[in-house]
Symmetry: C2
Subunit: 456 residues, 2 copies
């Protein structure tokens, strides 16, 4: 049994619906289908979810925006009519929206969750109707019926452990099960949306609950690439990657879907396959617990901007027991989370994401460190980029660092930071933002020479 | 005015005394002379200081070891007679020793300090007598008279700030001033020895107090080398090195004298020159505040063994605010000081010196981290060596890391840790102890190709 999830662009129009149905029906194993809300049909189009958020805000501001309401309904109407489905469906959707509004209009957060999630919910109903219209056995299963039991905090649903047993019972259901992504139900009976990962997390949870043989995640790219196509032209496709590699890469802005969404399947060791709704014949990328290394030490390169470094100097710092702890306590007081703390003998640096140092926090933190730790000098270095070189084969290989450092030297990037020693599967380099594209391209050429064949 | 310090081997015998006198008299600027206790005259010889410690222990155990007492007196007697000095001097020394013993025999720690320091004290008296016998104006100045005022904790003297003004007054004294190293006097009138650096720290303090133009430190090597001769055959000599470079190198077992001994001259920016008593014509090594880089990015390579790494894994660690602080708090509780804490996304390592994890501490720390921080996995990696590559020119240079990593790859060393990002003048690599010699030699060959000329 496979769980299949379709992203927003895969279910944005009637035309896409047809592709999706073909995909579902092409494999009897595809039993549970998770759908997102209708996404963009073209550049500049609005996602249904964004329209629904607009709608909720208008209501919370005291006046329902009928124009936006109409736009929302149009999205479904277009699909329903083009697929010649029973037009009464649109009435059901309209009725449900009005029901949610009257139900929650007094509660800003609950209303937002309810309307946001309706994008997926109604799309699941339409998809079910379409599959039925094609003469197949299919049923809409609400997250409540499916057993997706979550915590009750609006916009921050966490799945509850007992949910998985409930979900397992779906195995006995006949036909194709269509489940809306992005939300669950709390014991209090509330609709609660997930904080991250949207429909991906639902798919992952259902796959874990059903103990699926594979979790297929259909999106609009042929595969996961070894480096972002925004950084390198036509980068190599990845046929197989481990959860760990995926997660390390996801850390630095490299993400087909949010890495935390993988946790449920990750814990059960269920393989994930990323595929393209528009090119289902493409093999896609498998995300697995373990993979054969095939001599490939580095599998991917990711990078992220907007880091900064607090550089602290104090003579005999390394003989001062408790210095590091006191420094981190100040950061904790200020609610600042740091990424790395490279330390020398008389100096220590704190690498963190710059957006945390706003509204006078920077001045306050520098001041506190200067005074409370009596440091000789403290300065802040801005506009740093972190580059992550990732691969399960790195731990044992000799010369990986040399190759990377060599490539960075060729890119004329001044290495501000090197972090290796903790993670077994990654190495991190800090460089100036202005040199990051150059650096990533040189690293790519070093680890993925064009002469080599693709990894498979 | 220069301050000249002579190490134990430089004042171990009459023959060495002659060299020392020649050196002092060769330069009128050499005004203040700091002497150590007579050191080893040949391999397997005993240092006077060690004899004196033995003597103190015998007394503390209730019975003065006359044989050891005799050995101590013989050391001075040999020098006095061979230099044809007034034989009554030995009586003075004997008398002083007996005086100290009766004075402190009730107080174990004070007695140890008093006897230990008498090695330098008596040697200063003999040196003064010798200079006088050669017809030069010279006087013995006790640390009390010199104004070396220190804190009162036995064996852990810390210089007091007001000492420097007192010492400055020595500028007005006529002739050569001979001052014993290694100890000072507390306001309570006690003899207190320095915890580290022995006579070097005294020399450094006197040089700072007198605001000397140079602090000459005479020992038995021609110069400081860019790498330990124990690791590399005939390594290159260093003509000039900065305090910072010296300190970074000293951290990993690379040390002509204890780096903290330099602090007083360091703060005044007084240059230090390391010279060889047995080859005074050799230029030696200057330790300065600033030096011209002359295109040399790396100036030295040091290494030290016996490190270990605690490797901790916990899923989503990097989103757990306060994790690092709580981890360091546990180490602090246990009185463990760490060197570095490289961190990944779901993992963090603590690099520390292994000797700290004895007497069940290792088990307790691992247990506490496992339980109190609820980590997924923790393991300890032993027998790690740290290699420090140092040079003021490194910060700005591109490709330094590449060269180092390349050299380590050639040495077939698996790099366990790379630490760069905090110190501007060093880069640190962690490798297995078994590969450290190979690694250091490859690094040496990379940064100091034999074709190049010496650094000067």
């Amino acid at each position: 049994m496979k769980v299949v999830k379709f992203g927003g662009s895969s279910v944005a129009s009637a035309e896409q619906y047809k592709k999706v149905a073909e995909i579902i029906l092409a494999d009897k194993e595809r039993k549970a289908v998770i759908v997102s809300a209708p996404g963009k049909r073209f550049d500049g189009d609005q996602k249904t979810t964004d329209l629904l958020i607009e709608l909720a805000e208008s209501i919370n501001n005291g006046k329902t925006d009928q124009a936006v309401m109409a736009k929302v309904l149009d999205r479904y109407n277009e699909i329903i009519s083009e697929l010649h489905l029973d037009s009464s469906l649109i009435q059901t959707i309209k009725g449900r929206l009005e029901e949610l509004i009257s139900l929650y209009k007094e509660d800003e957060e609950r209303l937002l969750d309810a309307l946001k999630s309706s994008g997926e919910d109604n799309n699941a109903k339409v998809m079910t109707a379409y599959l039925l219209s094609l003469g197949h056995q299919a049923s809409y299963i609400s997250p409540k019926e499916a057993g997706v039991i979550v915590t009750d905090e609006p916009g921050n649903a966490q799945i509850l452990p007992e949910a998985y047993e409930r979900i397992a019972e779906l195995r006995n259901r006949e036909g194709i099960l269509v489940i809306p992504g992005f939300f669950g139900y709390s014991y209090q009976g509330n609709i609660v949306t997930f904080p991250r990962g949207g429909s991906d997390i639902t798919g992952s949870i259902i796959a874990a609950g059903l103990n699926a043989v594979e979790y297929e995640n259909f999106t609009d790219v042929d595969s996961v690439y070894c480096v972002s196509p925004k950084m390198v032209k036509n980068p190599r496709e990845l046929k197989e990657i481990t959860y760990r590699e995926m997660r390390e890469l996801a850390y630095s802005g490299f993400s087909v879907f949010h890495d935390e969404a993988l946790q449920p399947v990750f814990q059960k060791g269920i393989p994930v396959r990323v595929k393209n709704t528009n090119r289902p014949e493409a093999e896609g990328t498998r995300i697995v617990l373990k993979r054969e290394l095939k001599g490939q030490t580095v599998i991917g390169i990711a990078s992220d901007n907007d880091f900064c470094s607090l550089n602290i100097t104090k003579y005999l710092m390394n003989r001062e027991l408790g210095f590091g702890r006191r420094l981190l306590t100040i950061l904790e007081d200020e609610g600042i989370s740091y990424e790395h703390t490279p330390s020398g003998i008389d100096n220590m640096s704190i690498i963190l994401r710059s957006h945390q140092l706003v509204n006078g926090k920077e001045e306050r933190v520098l001041q506190r460190i200067k005074e409370e730790l009596d440091v000789d000098d403290i300065n802040i270095e801005r506009k740093l980029a972190m580059i992550m070189v990732v691969g399960e084969g790195m731990k044992e290989a000799v010369g990986v660092a040399a190759k990377a450092a060599q490539a960075l030297a060729e890119s004329r990037s001044n290495i501000k930071m090197i972090n290796q020693g903790s993670s077994e599967v990654s190495m991190m380099f800090g460089v100036d933002e202005e040199s990051v594209t150059r650096a990533v391209n040189c690293l790519y050429n070093a680890y993925f020479p064009s002469t080599e064949k693709a990894i498979h």
